[in-house]
Structure formats: structure tokens, C-alpha cells
């Protein structure tokens, strides 16, 4: 037997519960004198974290599409295709594998290059777990932002090719491809895939975004010509082709 009529009771209960739920928001809004400013601040925080193309004096940022940073704790790498079986690697799985470090330069087709210290795992280390079949000749990469690339397996097994998760002794920044990106220094930047989520081992290539979009070679090997390294004041310097080493030209 209700002392208060049932309908009234449930009305009070529901409105009470709703009020409690809204309380933090109401409190926030009420405690912040500028309600409109509080909302703007949240949106601008979100906008400032979006990864997009940006010229920086030390290392330019290039992104296929503007995206929000990826949470390492929620990310995983899927490997499949012509392998012994599909696998999933979480971030802690990748960092637990034997790592390698190197200094190498990333050279963009836009003429600039920048050097960094990279740490990650070799493709060979990954293949010991993934075990691709003999027919697998290509690896098809997919990124969070929809970017895709195909690279011959034999090129990925060359020295100085890494899947990196650290840059200059710190965790790879979001804008430079976190949680995991490819560093393949003898190919142009567009082959150095960022924010990798998927690697499929295939018999044939499935092309690449820039090869499909414009006249960029699927091979992507750095050609002999000229470079304008950011760390050398964008001075035009001859390069012999393949991985870029500027120190050799220090005599001019």
C-alpha cells in the first residue's frame, strides 16, 4: 500500500534519478560563469588534437586524412592472408619483441627530408611469428585513416626496415604514425605507412593509394636527384638514390 499515489511516486523517482544524472553537467554549467566558453574549450581541445598536415621546422607532419589520435590501449595489429593463420598483436605484444634502433632519414616526394632515431621490430622478427607461406610475395598495409600500400616482401626484409613504435627515444607521437608505423628508408615517405592496423600477405600487389591517385610509382624507390633536408636549412643537396645519407656530401 502506497502512502503516496503510485503515479506520483514514480514520477518523483524518475525525475529524481534524471536530476542526479544531469547533476554533474548542470553543476559544471552552473559553476562556470561562461557556459558557452566551457563548450568551446572542449571542442577546441578536440580540434587541436586532430592529426593533419603541418609544416614543422624539425619534421613535417603529413597525413592522408585528418584523424584523431589512436589510443594505444585500444589498438591492435591484424596479420593475415597467406600465413599459417591470422594473428592479432596488441601494443604490449609488439613492444615485448626484440627491438632494434637506427638513425635514418625519411625522404618525402615533396623534396624535404628529416632524420630521426627510430626503435621498433624488424619484419623478420614479425615473420617468425606470423609465418607467411612461400607464395606470399607482397604485404598489403592498411591504416586507421583508410590509407593503403603494397610493398614486396623481399623489400621489407632488406636491412634497416622496421615497424617502429618509438621516435627519438620516446613513444611514437600520434602525428608521426602512432602506435605503429613502417620505416623503409630507401623508399619515399609515401611508402612509410603510418598508424598501421592491418598487414595482409598476398601473392600479388593490391596497389597503393598514391599509385592509384596519381603518377607515383608503386615501387617508390628513392631516385637519384636532389633533396632539401629540413635539418640543413632546406639546402639543395645531391642524393645518389636509395636511402639518403647526407653526411657523405659534407664536403660539398
Amino acid at each position: 500500500m502506497f502512502l503516496v499515489p503510485r503515479r506520483k511516486f514514480f514520477k518523483f523517482l524518475i525525475s529524481g534519478l534524471v536530476s542526479l544524472g544531469l547533476w554533474p553537467n548542470i553543476a559544471c554549467n552552473n559553476s562556470n560563469q561562461n557556459k558557452h566558453g566551457a563548450i568551446q574549450e572542449k571542442i577546441s581541445d578536440k580540434i587541436s588534437r586532430i592529426i593533419r598536415n603541418e609544416n614543422r621546422p624539425d619534421f613535417n607532419v603529413r597525413s592522408f586524412k585528418p584523424i584523431s589520435p589512436i589510443n594505444r590501449n585500444q589498438w591492435y595489429l591484424f596479420t593475415g592472408g597467406l600465413t599459417k593463420g591470422p594473428r592479432t598483436f596488441y601494443f604490449e605484444d609488439i613492444v615485448s619483441l626484440k627491438s632494434e634502433t637506427q638513425m635514418s632519414r625519411l625522404k618525402c616526394v615533396e623534396c624535404w627530408s628529416a632524420k630521426a632515431k627510430w626503435e621498433g621490430i624488424s619484419i623478420k622478427t614479425l615473420l617468425e611469428i606470423v609465418k607467411p607461406m612461400e607464395q606470399a610475395k607482397w604485404v598489403y598495409f592498411r591504416s586507421v585513416d583508410g590509407y593503403y600500400e603494397s610493398i614486396p616482401l623481399k623489400d621489407l626484409l632488406r636491412p634497416r626496415v622496421l615497424l617502429v613504435y618509438k621516435m627519438n627515444d620516446k613513444l611514437l607521437p600520434s602525428e608521426h604514425g602512432a602506435p605503429l608505423r613502417l620505416i623503409i628508408p630507401f623508399k619515399y615517405g609515401y611508402k612509410n605507412v603510418k598508424y598501421i592496423t592491418r598487414m595482409e600477405f598476398l601473392e600479388k600487389d593490391k596497389s597503393g593509394h598514391w599509385s592509384d591517385e596519381g603518377s607515383y610509382s608503386l615501387d617508390g624507390s628513392i631516385q637519384p636527384g636532389y633533396d632539401h633536408p629540413l635539418d640543413k636549412g632546406k639546402k639543395r643537396i645531391f642524393i645518389n638514390g636509395g636511402e639518403v645519407f647526407h653526411d657523405f656530401d659534407k664536403l660539398g
Binding site: V109, Y216, D219, S221, Q223, N240
Partner: protein
């Protein structure tokens, strides 16, 4: 409508004197202007295989005064020798290495992804060798010190503005022939020579680390240029890239 005679004559004269020269000019611009070559005659007893050209002994101008990694325009002497007219092709190389793979339909394209050592082995297999750098440059340049095999005129290669390389069938660009009758001495792929890369003042630790490669394309994203006849490039001998190929040479004495 039947035209009066004088109008017919007028139209004929107009067509003949104005349009015909224009058409001829357009046709000549479109077609390659293949230079006339005064090829040297080999001495009696020297057999020149049809795929090679003969380079007589003598001096030539090597390098350029403004390029400090060359011999800066010095006169350099070579013995007489033979050199391949064309870069070694995919089809030719596959006869030596049956595991060699190349894209379908590219039998007559330059063989690439071949290291220096493998190039040496192949040429030994066919009774040839790599040219030394001086032999390469003389074959490309002739003896008058020209900037390009065809002369001093500057123009872009066919893959102008391409971030990569598009090779072509060897010898396709007939107009770009060198004074001694060798093709693709610039453009197509860079070519191994047997010389170690070195220049005045080079740090000691770099000596005998790189082999000289010659004659390709220089890229800067939105443009590509043919290299000069005297441009020098270098690569570690185990390098295999899509922009490196080679051609063979032969000493006259070894015949």
C-alpha cells in the same frame, strides 16, 4: 556550288603555299631528328659485333671545370675498345639467370635490380666486362666535350614530373644517340662501371666503398632531368634498385 575558276586557283595557291609548309613543319617537329653520325672505322682485323660499337684510341675531354667531383675537363686517354650499343635487357639477363623475374611484355627493357657483382658475372658469361668510367664517358660524350650525348640542348626525359622511374625499351630514343652510336647513355637506367668512386679530398673511410654509376635521370619530384655526360653517381656494390642497370665492354686486345 560550282566555284568560278579564279577562286579555285586562289584556293589552290593558298593551300599549297601556306598550309603545306605548316604541315611539313609540324611533321618534322613530331618526328625524332636522328643525327647523322660519322662513326669511326675500326682498323683491319677488328671485328665489331653487331650489338657493339667501336671507340678508337685517343684523348677525350672528361669531367667539367665547374663540377669538383669530376676531373674537371682534363684530357684523358683511352685505348681502343668496344662497348654495347644498348643496356643489357631483361631477356638477355634471363638467359644467364633463369630465376630472374621481370614484368610481362618487358623483354627489351633494361635489366635492373642487379648488383655490381652479378653484373660482372653476367658479362663474364657472355665474354665481356664492365666499362671503366673513362670508357663509359667517352662512349657517351665523344671527343668534343658536349653536355649530353646528342649535344648541348636541354630538354626533359619522357617521365618528366614523375616521382619514380619509367624505363623504356632500350634504344627507343633514336635521337638521343651518342656520337659513337651508343643509346640510352643518359636516361633509362644508371649503369654500373668498374671504377671505385673517389674524388679529390674524399674522406679516407669512404674509399673503396662505392662503385661509380653513370648516365641516368635526376629527380626532384615535379621534374626530372637527364644527367650530363660527365655526371658521376655512386652506389654500394651490393645495391639492387630499379634505377640501376649496366652494359658491357670489350678490350680490342682480347679479341
Amino acid at each position: 556550288m560550282v566555284l568560278p575558276m579564279h577562286e579555285k586557283i586562289q584556293r589552290f595557291v593558298y593551300t599549297f603555299f601556306y598550309l603545306t609548309p605548316l604541315l611539313l613543319t609540324l611533321i618534322s617537329c613530331q618526328s625524332e631528328q636522328i643525327p647523322e653520325l660519322n662513326l669511326p672505322t675500326p682498323p683491319r682485323g677488328v671485328v665489331v659485333p653487331k650489338e657493339m660499337v667501336y671507340i678508337p684510341e685517343g684523348e677525350f675531354i672528361m669531367g667539367h671545370p665547374d663540377h669538383n667531383k669530376t676531373v674537371r675537363g682534363k684530357k684523358v686517354y683511352t685505348h681502343a675498345y668496344l662497348i654495347d650499343k644498348f643496356e643489357v635487357t631483361n631477356e638477355q639477363y634471363k638467359k644467364f639467370d633463369s630465376t630472374y623475374r621481370y614484368p610481362q611484355g618487358q623483354n627489351n627493357y633494361p635489366a635492373t635490380y642487379i648488383s655490381y657483382n652479378m653484373a660482372v658475372l653476367y658479362l663474364d658469361f657472355v665474354g665481356k666486362r664492365l666499362p671503366i668510367e673513362a670508357e663509359w664517358e667517352k662512349a657517351a660524350r665523344g671527343t668534343d666535350g658536349r653536355m649530353f650525348p646528342w649535344g648541348d640542348k636541354v630538354f626533359g626525359p619522357p617521365n618528366y614530373g614523375f616521382s619514380g622511374l619509367v624505363t623504356e625499351p632500350v634504344g627507343k630514343r633514336k635521337a638521343l644517340v651518342s656520337p659513337f652510336g651508343a643509346y640510352d647513355m643518359v636516361g633509362n637506367v644508371w649503369e654500373w662501371t668498374s671504377d671505385w668512386y673517389s674524388f679529390e679530398g674524399m674522406p679516407k673511410e669512404y674509399k673503396k666503398k662505392f662503385k661509380v654509376i653513370r648516365g641516368g635521370v635526376l629527380s626532384v619530384h615535379l621534374r626530372s632531368d637527364y644527367s650530363y655526360t660527365f655526371d658521376r653517381n655512386y652506389m654500394p656494390s651490393d645495391s639492387k634498385f630499379n634505377f640501376i642497370g649496366f652494359r658491357g665492354a670489350k678490350s680490342i686486345k682480347s679479341q
